[in-house]
Symmetry: C2
Subunit: 220 residues, 2 copies
């Protein structure tokens, strides 16, 4: 499959490498084609790895990951071109974190409590099937659920398109070893308010635990 | 010990009954001494159970639980009298939930993201030792951690006074069967932003799971 990844930070590169390793074609998209991290990533990842601007990556892709810094959402999606997302699944991994007052972060006020980046992205890309997923765990755990507790821990997804959510569940199970029964469907994309809203807590927990390599197992 | 509970909702009454059953004296405080729920609770709970207004309960108590509706914090604490909290531990169980737009709730905007009820209560009661605790689980689980997964699940506390936090940890272990190793200290009362901020997610999870009787086990 052709996978486009918007954003060249550690999350985007980690997801990209994981898909290369499972035999897919990946294009990283960034603001500028001279992005040094993206160039180094392409060199390290062989012939199935490419790099372009946001529009190149969106056009190339059959499936798109949103991994950019949340504060730039409007700029990124404008560059990428909303029409290039029509009928495509967009897995939204972004978080609206504001580190400007130190650790732990708060949420960017415009994407907090009664609005979310997930909703914002769906609103800006009305032809896309946005599925919020993976934003509640650290990058290395996103791509290999077995790194913690033998994959017995939970992931939370939401989105307006049920078939798209089922496809994402299958994709995460097949490529990243998530146990499909541990992927909980929180309903429409409005629930991104909930799953983004727990990320400041996650950062605090990381500080308490001394590691980002953890997740929540819901027990009854 | 003499325990004062501010609020006569299901959380306050459940905590009150649990302390009666472990041999303590409890006074429920409410706005009016004609509060019917409180009167019925006193009748059901015997000679160690009392009821009064907020000021009565705060004066009576050696240890105070804040279990009122978060939106009324200023009114409740004014009635109770800040001087009646001096040098006392206040276990703050409140959440700033706003159900006015349906389920799941958002947070009351004035106590969301960059401010919290925990901080508000500590600010209004400068002589008290406020410890945020128990606000992330359902009432029956608060008072008996063994109802879920043999008490293997986590509670998150925070507050500015380390000795007070240790006393709360011991109290919860001794009276409510919480495993002290599973009570994670998130630091100062500022972290109430984090532990209150995950409660809308909790409500969403309750809807997905079909029960409030669950909690998070952090796995590494």
């Amino acid at each position: 499959m052709k996978i486009g990844i918007l954003g060249t930070g550690s999350v985007g590169r980690t997801i990209g490498t994981a898909f290369i390793q499972t035999g897919h074609e990946v294009m990283l998209g960034s603001r500028s084609v001279t992005n040094e991290k993206a160039i180094a990533w392409v060199e390290a990842n062989g012939i199935n790895a490419q790099h372009g601007n946001f529009e190149d990556a969106a056009q190339f892709a059959e499936l798109i990951f949103a991994c950019f810094n949340g504060v730039f959402v409007t700029e990124v999606l404008k560059q990428a071109g909303a029409e290039n997302f029509n009928n495509k699944i967009v897995i939204d991994v972004t978080n609206p974190l504001d580190f400007s007052n130190g650790m732990p972060p708060s949420l960017l006020s415009q994407y907090s409590n009664t609005w979310s980046l997930g909703e914002e992205i769906q609103q800006q890309l009305p032809g896309a099937k946005v599925v919020k997923a993976l934003n509640t765990v650290t990058a290395n755990l996103m791509v290999n659920a077995q790194l913690v507790n033998n994959a017995h821990h939970h992931l939370f997804i939401c989105g307006n398109d049920v078939a798209a959510k089922n496809a994402v569940r299958e994709l995460l199970a097949h490529n990243f070893h998530w146990n499909p029964e541990y992927i909980l469907d929180f309903g429409s994309i409005q629930s991104a308010r909930l799953t983004e809203g727990i990320v400041p807590f996650w950062v605090g927990a990381m500080q308490v635990l001394g590691t980002p390599m953890f997740n929540y197992l819901i027990v009854k």
